[in-house]
């Protein structure tokens, strides 16, 4: 009689053990499914083409109302209260008309009673290259750091601006404009009366590139705009990566997608510009297709003046 090999016994034993374990596993309860009793928020369209047609010009008005040049001028009036005794502490450099000022204070009062607190920076510089190109740069704000200046007459400014304005004038008569403006600002009522940014009605950021030549051609592109403006035709916020316009003869190009958010949090997109089918030709009007979550809500046309006004700058487009 043959005796089973030891290895076979081990295999048989292990198989039997495995079967026992498996049958025990099968007898165990199974975890229940989690069936959540919740429904996702529905993002419904609320902005109509008619609303959008009114909101687009209002958006550009609001963007212009940020008016960083005025903000800077108002700031300089207040900064003039800084006294020579270290309130605020500062590093200042001057070279002709050019100035660069860093300042810092944990809170101090000047001899005339003006309160400085926080960290500030401003610089104005103008350079002329060999070919006669002149570049003027205005910078204001210490990289988003907070400052406040409160004068004894009640005038004040506080916030965390980042402003840079660059204007380049070439000998051929052309000009380039670049700007970046961002940050929160607040001012006293009298100072703020001329500026929606200082009134707190508009907050946000944008970049800008403008160009004009000596014979009247102008172009302007806003990029990276993010704007919160509760007063703009029921739109809670705007956002776009790039919107451009020029006044080339025969076809003022309006390109870009402007996104508009309602109070409930739904974003709507207004697409300006040429259809993807290039054979249809460029789109040269101020019309856009409005959509929400991929659903077409119709077409609207903003008044031509909404875009044309962007090109009607006097000294600079900001």
């Amino acid at each position: 009689m043959l005796e089973p090999a030891p290895l076979l016994l081990v295999l048989l034993a292990s198989t039997a053990g495995g079967l026992a374990e498996r049958s025990a596993d099968l007898a165990r309860p199974r975890p229940s499914r989690y069936e959540p009793d919740s429904s996702e928020p529905v993002s419904l369209p609320s902005i109509t083409p008619e609303m959008a047609a009114g909101a687009v010009p209002a958006l550009f008005d609001a963007t212009r109302a940020l008016d960083p040049e005025t903000v800077f001028a108002d700031y300089l009036v207040l900064f003039a209260h800084a006294d020579g005794e270290g309130c605020p502490e500062r590093d200042a450099y001057a070279n002709g008309a050019d100035t660069t000022v860093f300042w810092y204070s944990d809170g101090c009062s000047t001899s005339d009673g003006t309160w400085f607190n926080g960290s500030g920076f401003h610089a104005v510089a103008e350079t002329t290259e060999n070919d006669g190109t002149v570049t003027r740069v205005v910078s204001f704000g210490d990289g988003g750091a907070f400052f406040e200046i409160v004068a004894p007459d009640g005038k004040l400014m506080r916030g965390s601006p980042s402003i840079e304005l660059i204007e380049t004038r070439s000998p051929d008569g052309s000009k380039e404009f670049e700007a970046y403006a961002a940050g929160e600002l607040e001012s006293d009522e009298a100072t703020a009366i001329e500026n929606a940014w200082l009134r707190g009605e508009v907050q946000g950021s944008f970049g800008l590139y403008g160009y004009e030549d000596a014979v009247g051609y102008r172009s302007l592109t806003y990029y990276g705009l993010a704007l919160r403006a509760e007063t703009v035709r029921g739109i809670f916020a705007f956002s776009f990566s790039e919107v451009g316009i020029d006044n080339a003869e025969g076809c003022a190009l309006r390109t870009g997608t402007i996104s508009m958010r309602d109070g409930a949090g739904s974003w709507h997109d207004a697409f300006f510009g040429a259809p993807e089918d290039e054979s249809a030709g460029d789109r040269c009007d101020a019309c856009a297709t409005l959509s929400h979550a991929g659903t077409d809500l119709g077409t609207f046309c903003a008044p031509d003046a909404a875009f044309d006004g962007l090109l009607a700058w006097g000294v600079a487009p900001w």
Partner: protein
């Protein structure tokens, strides 16, 4: 380990029934009372269980109806979300408040997230409320500095010193995901694009920690080239393993991106920034592969509907109550508690009751119906907060730094005692023993001075005693403090009386003698190990 075993043996008295391999009913009662209410059981509760062990379940499971239940629940999830920091980005001065109010402000920011957990627990709302609530619960100081308005009327059952409020700056309603304090704690730079924030909430609420994933990091990327990094994140398998789900999740959070060092701006939500993911990561919003409309409230509902949200909550509660990390052998019991959680409609009270009944929690080794034999818990170490809450309850005293509990902040004693914003260490340490000792001394001294006649021990001692307490009184003190039967004629009672006598002889000061006696009681390992 040997020390813990020895303490366990010493803790048993001959007249107590012992479950085979498990804790005595008294020990279970003490453990549950400390875990759920943060205080030692009342003498009447001890006596009820001593007379009739069958009353244990009724006593223990009823603890979740105590208003202090929410405090412990808040602690579990505050540790998971790491919100209890000493200080945040801006101080009271930045908001134009008196600098003396800064501890109040920092505490309020640290407690906004935990307060919602506490409220949901005590009100017995579905756990998913923490992601869907259209309100927050805050200390009133935050109404002064953030865009919040208190609701009217206020509901009952709010954590002490808080009000129910709503943000007024247009942020979506998404429970804790809508809270400024959460995103102050987990701030992000534009370059990080909310990825760290994403991991903070998936780790805490889904137990999905991207940092636990093995990374086969590609070595052929120029890390100084932003564009190359961006391309790799989208295309390199070593990167997409995480970023394919991380970045689309993060795209929901851009409204909380802060770009200026400005306290007022940090308090606000920025709806105009919600679409900034387009220019930053370019990752369309999605929830683990499922595209969304990009709204924060949608993200919250997706999370609340995720199976991991439920199982993670169960694991966290189980781990906290058992006082040790979850192991593979625990998975069966976690499944069992998950069933109780689901059956109750995600009631935290039901979940806690289930875990409080767990054999391993009660020190019993038993196979789970779902498989696995969890390691029973014989002894747990009191967290720094638990040392404080016991001392406060017994003596009316708590150590405070700048008006905050010393054991709740690292600037105080939390770190020394083995705590942090991530939770408490589970193993004894010299620092823990020192803090315990310091609390014992300070509590004892406060009582000896007669500072807290209304506390549990103060009520026994009366005003600053000028004579040695009787042995009967000493026995009552021991029962109150250590939750143990204690005979007035025992050798231990005589030894404690001797402590009073010897100190009084040495100092001639009855207050010192009482302080010494009480220090000996409060410094007992029973208050640190349970």
């Amino acid at each position: 380990m040997v020390l813990l075993g020895a303490l366990g043996v010493l803790a048993c008295t001959p007249d107590e029934p012992v479950q085979e391999g498990g804790l005595t009913p008294r020990d279970v009662l003490v453990r549950a009372s400390l875990d759920i209410r943060g205080v030692r059981p009342e003498v009447s509760e001890l006596e009820a269980v001593r007379r009739d062990a069958a009353r244990l379940d009724g006593e223990v499971l009823g603890f979740v109806d105590d208003p202090r239940f929410g405090i412990g629940v808040a602690g579990v999830f505050a540790d998971a979300l790491r919100t209890r920091r000493d200080a945040f980005q801006f101080d009271a001065y930045a908001y134009g408040l008196d600098e003396e109010r800064d501890p109040e402000l920092q505490h309020a920011i640290a407690e906004e997230v935990p307060a919602l957990f506490a409220y949901v627990a005590n009100a017995d709302l579905a756990f998913s409320e923490i992601l869907t609530a259209d309100y927050t619960i805050v200390a009133p100081i935050l109404l002064e500095v953030w865009p919040l308005e208190a609701l009217d009327p206020q509901p009952d059952g709010l954590p002490e010193g808080t009000v129910m409020a709503r943000y007024t700056d247009g942020r979506p309603a998404a429970g804790i995901l809508s809270m400024s304090s959460l995103w102050w704690r987990h701030a992000s730079t534009v370059d990080n694009a909310n990825r760290g924030r994403t991991n903070a909430v998936t780790r805490a609420l889904l137990c999905e920690d991207y940092l636990d994933r093995p990374i086969d990091f590609p070595r052929d990327i120029d890390l100084t080239d932003e564009e190359a990094i961006g391309t790799a994140i989208r295309t390199n398998e070593g990167c997409t393993a995480c970023h394919a789900t991380l970045d689309p999740f993060a795209s929901h959070l851009w409204g909380f991106m802060q770009r200026a060092e400005d306290a007022r701006a940090w308090g606000r939500y920025h709806p105009e920034g919600e679409l900034d993911w387009k220019s930053a990561s370019g990752a369309s919003p999605a929830y683990f592969g499922e595209p969304t409309n990009g709204r924060l409230d949608t993200l919250a509902v997706k999370m609340a509907g995720d199976e991991r949200f439920v199982s993670c909550a169960v694991s966290r509660v189980y781990e906290r109550l058992l006082g040790r990390p979850v192991a593979l052998a625990d998975e069966g019991q976690i499944a069992a508690h998950r069933e109780a959680f689901l059956r109750s409609g995600l009631s935290l009270k039901a979940l806690y009751r289930s875990v409080l009944s767990d054999p391993a929690y009660r020190g019993v080794r038993m196979e789970s119906a779902f498989g696995g034999v969890p390691e029973p818990v014989t002894r747990k170490l009191a967290s720094p907060e638990l040392l404080t809450s016991q001392a406060r309850d017994l003596s009316g005293f708590s150590l405070r730094v700048d008006g905050r509990d010393a054991t709740a902040i690292d600037d105080g004693l939390r770190a020394l005692a083995g705590g942090s914003d991530r939770g408490a260490d589970r193993t004894p340490s010299l620092g823990h023993a020192l803090v315990h000792r310091r609390l014992a001394e300070a509590s004892a001294r406060a009582l000896a001075r007669g500072d807290a006649p209304d506390s549990r021990i103060g009520a026994i001692l009366g005003d600053a005693p000028s004579e040695r307490p009787s042995r009967e009184t000493i026995a009552r003190l021991v029962v109150e403090v250590r939750s143990r039967p204690f005979a007035p004629d025992s050798g231990d009672a005589r030894a404690l009386a001797d402590v009073w006598d010897a100190t009084e002889r040495a100092t001639g000061d009855p207050e010192e003698a009482t302080a010494a006696l009480l220090t000996a009681l409060f410094a007992d390992p029973d208050l640190a190990l349970y």
